[in-house]
Symmetry: C3
Subunit: 378 residues, 3 copies
């Protein structure tokens, strides 16, 4: 009869945070072959509006076509390979034109003009549409997928649409965006997001508002982890003083009004649903030890329309907390890079982190990542 | 009977513009084993005058010896390997002295002083001349060649000396030099120079002066490509307004007075001969996606001596055009680096580009490039 | 009977100064597996005082424990690998606490607090002490050694303690520290330090004070080289004008009062003992062609207490000389990186350099360097 103790789960070996080959492999597996959150549909309200995203070294144009559909394309002209679009956001006048020789594409990616190419006998315009990237929208959140034959977005989202229907995310509007450059591996950002054991030491301001031991975590899922936290004392939301300066989001139940939901939707979307606003982080890995993080605060338009609308209490609070988190993540990156680092023990308060590590390892065990070379075309 | 259509020529695969190994190979084949244009003889009018050039990571001293000959040496002392010369240009007082231990060389490279070396019994001064680099001059344009046994410069220049004799380049004098740092592969600069199909979209100012369809291209040669363009309307030269503010260069025929000759002399010399001045670009590749470009404007000394001599019309015009060209070349570099890039079709207006690509491929098929290790000595 | 001439010794091949693999190997062999000078005991006078050093990419905490012993640890928390300490120097309040989750260690490295870890059944605090680095002190100079089982410091120092006992280094106090970033391999700094043949050309100010041919060099030793130089004319110390503005160090003999001792103690400690002060350089290689150099001037406390105490004559003199030496070392690095570089001949005035080269080669021939992975623990 075995009485073997269950081994304490430990952090991953250093190479997962320091090895450029592991990073490149993860970029293929996680960032090119699954759905990643690219932004909000509200950023491109009308046909021709666009914004750019850089993922795994690729510049992607995300736009809206004449029929109102969200479309995404590699930012590469099919003539001589020129990057066509340089401004991070803007509006196309009905078509996308390359600034080098004037090749022109419709908002659906079809080539509609190629000066002097017809003089070459065998030129076939239909073969030179822009290279397409798959798109999907979940309650105003735009997702893209660089895989040639992606799985449905719905499969990756699993039960999240039902779970968060009450927050009516599609109704919310962007008020503030801050971008941070963090010298840490993208997975360290997710690990940091997934536990509050560090809150008493690192976040004295935050720790006044929630009980770091009071997280109500869900059973980890293959494509996300998360849970909810209630408030301490008289706090009603996450803000500098815990005071709530906006109406509850319409549609929330009494129970939903008294908690914050923190969900890490793999690989790049951190969704923080508050009683009165939504905060999102999207992660944009640059290299193995460098991640750009875009943080956005979204509010209900009825609140934003009020003359006394305030948001700085929420923005300043999370900006402070963000900076504390990025700073410690950078110190993690530095320490893990030491030859003295060995996997250390997770406490029972860090179970979501172990669950994420297991997802990373499981994905690595799958068939080798293939560089998405043969991009699909229109 | 075959009726197979001739395949449309296409751009080169991405690795020719993005792969560091390909770049290093090209540096050996094109920049170390052929003649490259280093500058003008007028920069070093007297013995001891010198300037430095950096090619393939090597610092080369170009100077004039006591006999008036142009000489070039690796900027490396034979004692302990010190780089002797740091100022990009200047004048040696009859000898080249290493600032570390005072080893001293004649302007012909011979070691003439080596303090305390004679105390070591077997020291033989003749074995320690500076490492020589081959030199040649064509009408005031200095060429260097790092190969130990270079082919004659005349072979590489082919029929260019006869072709451009009328412009009397050796008489012209430098008026202005501008250096540009461009984040693009050196070959993209040449491709850009070799077609005007992009002129209507990219260069509205230039396009007012010449007809982009009117290039009179020569049959491409193994060591250069080029052609001439006439002027539009009343334009008489390439300047901000097409107006010519200087006399025609003496020696030009009526026909030569009404065109600009644009020649890319591989690998680094772009020669633009105008009716009233000469513009040159020399390319100095730094790495696979980074090239320094030196642009110079040269005029006839009789014009430069006139009290009302003007040059800004030509300088400003080309500076504007240069910046447009470097910007689009950088966008080409970015787009070609995408996994979505595939070779695209050349139009009939881009035949010189295909010819250059063929030269690149042919050179690659030659015997493997050998690092020029055993430099020849005096 | 053979009459074969002794071959002139030559400088090392370029790869010893330019190859990243050679550099990494040397970092293991010289900087991780031998004793390196880390600083002065006076920097951490009381328990809890600490400073950081970075060696071979590792951040090391050097502190003093409650019993007064000098201790060194890898700056890595045993929980999740966080770098704990960011300030280059300071004072611990009796314990070292990780800023992430609050793991807390004694000044002897033992884990004394780990919040919520006891909830995990099998956690054993004794297994998670900080990773220790060996320490030693010679007359106030702190040495560290990253090897798991280092040889005794005494063996490496050999006869140096007797040789320099008269200078009573432990009594001296830091007055000034300057740090320099030098774009040169660490060994070029040592080569430069080991000869004065360059003094007439490079150091006109220094050359007025000592006779560059007058060095009295010791027979080179396996762990150090060095020698002494007397003064020229009326000079009494190395200062801007040769004037001595401080009393002789107590304990020096008449002979010791009239020379400067220059010793390079491998791999990183340059010890320059003057009649009236001590200068030290410690070398901190960053990469194959980049070394940080910390230069310190130490004086006798009785002198420093005098109201008219002056030090700028010594500081300014050596700062000038340092800058001359770093500049020429950077030019050496550049020249040696040329394909034209070949090993050049040493003169009879450069014998100590050949001796150091031989030490480098001998170390390389030893058993392969093993990355110090399994750091020893408390």
């Amino acid at each position: 009869m075995s009485t073997q103790a269950i081994a304490t789960p430990k952090t991953l070996p250093a190479r997962y945070y320091t090895d450029l080959e592991v990073f490149r492999d993860e970029m293929e597996r996680f960032y090119c072959q699954t759905w990643i959150c690219a932004g909000r549909a509200g950023q491109i309200p009308s046909p021709g509006h666009y914004f750019l995203r850089e993922v795994a070294g690729e510049s992607i144009i995300i736009t809206r076509d004449q029929g109102g559909e969200v479309r995404a394309f590699y930012n590469v002209c099919r003539h001589r390979g020129t990057r066509m679009c340089s401004e991070p956001q803007g509006s196309f006048a009905g078509r996308i034109q390359c600034p080098y020789h004037g090749w022109t594409y419709g908002l659906d990616g079809r080539l509609i003009g190629a000066p002097h190419m017809d003089e070459a006998g065998s030129f076939c315009r239909e073969e030179y549409s822009l290279n397409r990237v798959a798109t999907g929208v979940w309650e105003g959140n735009i997702f893209i997928n660089l895989a040639p034959r992606p799985e449905p977005l719905e499969k990756q989202l699993a039960d999240l649409p039902q779970k968060f229907a009450a927050w009516r995310m599609q109704d919310l509007r962007l008020h503030k965006r801050l971008a941070y450059d963090v010298k840490a591996n993208w997975k360290l950002i997710i690990l940091n997001y997934n536990e509050c054991l560090h809150c008493p030491v690192l976040h004295p301001t935050l720790n006044r508002l929630t009980n770091y031991l009071g997280a109500d975590n869900e059973t980890p899922q293959p494509t996300y982890v998360g849970g909810a936290m209630g408030f301490k004392g008289s706090a009603e939301t996450m803000s500098i003083d815990g005071k709530r300066r906006r109406d509850y989001l319409p549609g929330l139940s009494e129970e939903e009004r008294h908690k914050v939901c923190y969900y890490a939707i793999y690989p790049n979307f951190l969704l923080s649903l508050h009683p009165d606003y939504m905060m999102t982080h999207t992660l944009w890995p640059k290299t193995v030890n460098h991640t750009q993080i875009v943080c956005e605060w979204h509010f209900h338009p009825q609140e934003m329309a009020k003359p006394d609308f305030q948001a700085n209490d929420a923005i300043d609070f999370w900006d402070l907390t963000n900076r504390e988190d990025w700073g410690i993540s950078e110190l993690s990156q530095l320490g893990i890079s030491s030859r003295a680092y060995k996997p250390g023990p997770y406490s029972t308060r860090e179970q979501l982190l172990h669950a994420f590590d297991e997802v990373v390892l499981a994905r690595e065990r799958e068939a080798p990542a293939v560089l998405v070379k043969n991009v699909n075309q229109h």
